[in-house]
């Protein structure tokens, strides 16, 4: 179903950047790294559309741009509707002989706000209509552009400016919405999760998302040092730990069939390698309050939810995990 695209690190390094340097992202920005990697997977004529958010703002300050591709931003909640319009235009203009391109790939980019929350209606509609586009969610788990407010993608216990940890509340009270599973429920051809630490896996999944005929959804983990109160130098390490703790497992669902991607499959086969969530959480100021006696129960709850979701995922992937050794 997918092309056998092989590439080396050198190939990727030598491929000109389509998301160019000079943008205004913060040091250690996960999403900016993710965008750069995504654009390495571009295979031909491509149009990119971007929801309002950090990546739009840091890349398009008039009269400057970081985009070496045709790029469109219109609003916050409608990246998928932009993609619908672009896809429809390309199809009919090609049919009428008014553009010369045989095919144009369409990539829609949105953060967690523009996907989980305000953007979910347009996304669901565009996927239901079967438009041929890849929707990439770069998930930094809060509304970072407006100053770290909680979203449907913010995990339990995270302190944000609208779910602050206080004397009686332990940060966000609700769980992270399982957005990628919601997209699988649309019976769309391709859904996957990715993390920039596993850059080869990420680039391959972007390419696959472009290759499928119809809608594809890629959920990419994207640390935000500013919002997570984490070390700017540790964004990629956090991207690895999120996978190793199974807080952000890597998988693909091709035509609804779930399968674990290698980094997570390794953990399924060797459960002793699965790390406790506290290793990931303790590196981030947004979870600092969970390491006090007052809120340690929430820490336990996060571990419980993570394990429960991991087991559900293993079931969906048809993988039974060997009994874990005591951790």
């Amino acid at each position: 179903m997918f092309s056998e695209w092989k590439f080396t690190a050198k190939d990727i390094a030598e491929k000109p950047d389509l998301f160019m340097s000079g943008h205004r992202a913060c040091a250690g920005c996960g999403p900016a790294t993710v965008l750069r990697l995504i654009m390495k997977a571009v295979r031909g004529p491509t149009i990119v559309t971007n929801a309002t958010g950090c990546m739009e703002v840091i890349s398009s300050i008039y009269p400057y741009t970081s985009w070496a591709l045709p790029w469109l931003h219109t609003a916050f909640e409608n990246a998928a509707a932009n993609a619908s319009g672009i896809d429809a235009a390309i199809k009919i203009l090609k049919k009428k002989g008014r553009i010369k391109y045989e095919h144009v790939d369409v990539i829609a980019l949105a953060g967690d706000g523009g996907t989980y929350d305000i953007g979910i209606q347009a996304l669901s509609g565009a996927v239901e209509r079967g438009h041929d586009f890849l929707f990439v969610l770069y998930d930094n788990e809060a509304y970072m552009n407006t100053g770290i407010q909680r979203s449907g993608g913010t995990p339990l216990g995270a302190s944000t400016t609208t779910s602050p940890a206080g004397a009686v509340l332990p940060g966000k009270l609700e769980r992270k919405k399982p957005i990628a599973d919601i997209m699988v429920a649309h019976e769309m051809p391709y859904v996957a999760t990715a993390s920039p630490y596993y850059w080869r896996d990420l680039i391959t999944k972007v390419r696959r998302g472009l290759e499928v005929n119809g809608p594809a959804f890629l959920h990419v983990f994207a640390p935000c040092p500013r919002g997570w109160r984490s070390d700017q130098a540790k964004s990629i390490e956090l991207s690895r730990l999120a996978v190793e703790t199974c807080m952000f497992p890597l998988w693909e669902a091709v035509n609804g069939e779930y399968q674990l991607s290698t980094p997570s499959k390794v953990l399924a086969l060797t459960p002793e390698k699965k790390k406790p969530v506290r290793e990931y959480l303790q590196m981030q100021g947004r979870f600092r309050h969970l390491f006090t006696p007052k809120y340690e129960k929430v820490l336990e709850e996060i571990q419980r939810i993570t394990d429960e979701r991991w087991q559900k995922l293993l079931k969906k992937c048809g993988t039974t995990q060997p009994a874990a050794k005591a951790t």
Binding site: I47, E56, L72, E77, A80, A88, V104, Q121, R129
Partner: protein, 410 residues
């Protein structure tokens, strides 16, 4: 005026006339969401698609917000895009109306004018489009189904003109026009196709200083819909105002050119006066009400009363010069508003007509009549009553009530 092409007469309601015009205008993308009283437009167009009568990508979106977004995105990708809505649907598009005009996307949208909630009401008035009067869209209000057909065709030429590049709304009164069958003379397909032509693209400089077509084109990348900070934003907005000014001229030119083919002309395209030259008293209004007013003017004229009508066809851009010129000899003017601007001391049409006359050397008595909200009927007797009150104003030499309500229980 004579038509140079043979025209067929079809029995169409306003919505069908709009759909027929869109069908003939070589539209590439239609994205829409159904809402009363616009639904027939979408339904007819869906039939054209189902029967292979159009080469159009039709997107049945999950909301009006996405409908306009998809049209905007299709438009900047190089497609000719059309949508239609009404009332709450247009209100849901509100955000995207500004984005579409700001992106200078020549999208055409028909609106079957309808009241806004609450209370819920599906009938005709102008609250929906008047609430969007500052959104940067051209607004044309039509008098009948024939004009709805003609105006949609003209709108593509107006919006896509390089001096304009602004989106346009063609408004037709909900039910009164949208659902009422009329004889509509339609041009042959090839005549419309030739009139609208194919989209041409202006050349802009991209970020590298390279001249590129103003569209999303993989070979000539441009960044569209960027963020502009206080150092640039203001200039973008000033350019939109300039485009609106240019639209005044273009709307008139397109009106003339269309007349040379169809034999149909709507005033100068901006205003459509009726017996105004020697009128002492006049009504200013928009839309289908003008038809009723004309009948009353005919009656009054037969009785020797110097009554006239000034129908504003274009509300955006607002034809200040034409209004001032046309009303220069009128002694008392009644401006009819089919929407309210709460707390503003009069409806939007009244405010603007009165404002236009402020710098005129001539200063007629001017009063406001708010009428027909939520589809309430306005009949000839009531219109006659307005003219009577204008006569009373002239006799008394003063305005009794600045803002009046027609056919309202109080």
């Amino acid at each position: 005026m004579k038509s140079v092409v043979k025209q067929e007469v079809l029995a169409l309601n306003g919505d069908e006339a709009v759909a027929y015009a869109a069908k003939q205008s070589d539209v590439d993308v239609v994205a829409a969401y159904p809402i009363t009283p616009q639904t027939i437009m979408v339904e007819r167009f869906s039939e054209y698609v189902a029967n292979g009568e159009v080469e159009t990508q039709f997107i049945c979106t999950e909301s009006e917000h996405s409908a306009l977004t998809a049209c905007l995105a299709a438009s900047v990708t190089g497609a000719r895009a059309f949508t239609a809505s009404a009332s709450a649907g247009l209100a849901l598009m509100h955000e995207m109306l500004f984005v579409t005009s700001g992106c200078r996307a020549p999208v055409v949208m028909a609106i079957a004018n309808r009241a806004l909630s609450a209370p819920l009401n599906i009938h005709g008035d102008h609250s929906d489009t008047m609430a969007q009067r500052d959104s940067g869209w051209i607004q044309i209000y039509v008098e009948n189904a024939q004009e709805a057909y003609d105006s949609v065709i003209q709108a593509f030429r107006i919006t896509e003109n390089p001096e304009v590049m602004l989106p346009a709304i063609v408004g037709l009164d909900g039910f009164t026009l949208s659902h009422t069958l009329e004889n509509v003379r339609v041009l042959p397909d090839d005549a419309v196709k030739k009139f609208v032509g194919t989209r041409q693209f202006t050349t802009v400089l991209n970020h590298e200083g390279k001249p590129v077509p103003f569209r999303l084109d993989p070979e000539n990348p441009t960044t569209m819909g960027p963020i502009a900070l206080p150092n640039y934003y203001f200039e973008f907005k000033r350019q939109q105002e300039e485009a609106m000014k240019n639209a005044l001229k273009v709307i008139s030119e397109v009106n003339d050119e269309y007349a040379s083919i169809s034999g149909r002309k709507y005033g100068d395209g901006l205003i459509d006066p009726y017996h105004i030259e020697d009128a002492e008293i006049a009504i200013v209004c928009l839309g289908s009400t003008a038809g009723t007013v004309k009948s009353v003017v005919d009656e009054l004229r037969a009785e020797g009363v110097k009554a006239g009508l000034l129908r504003l066809r274009t509300f955006r851009p607002f034809p200040v010069k034409g209004i001032v010129k046309t009303l220069e000899n009128v002694k008392a003017v009644a401006v009819m508003d089919r929407s309210m601007s709460f707390g503003a001391n009069g409806g939007p049409v009244f405010q603007e007509v009165r404002h236009a006359l402020y710098d005129s050397s001539h200063s007629p008595y001017i009063v406001n009549y708010i009428y027909g909200l939520g589809g309430r009927d306005t009949n000839m007797t009531q219109i006659r009553g307005i003219y009577n009150e204008l006569q009373q104003t002239l006799k008394k030499g003063r305005v009794e009530n600045l803002v009046n309500y027609v056919g309202l229980r109080e």
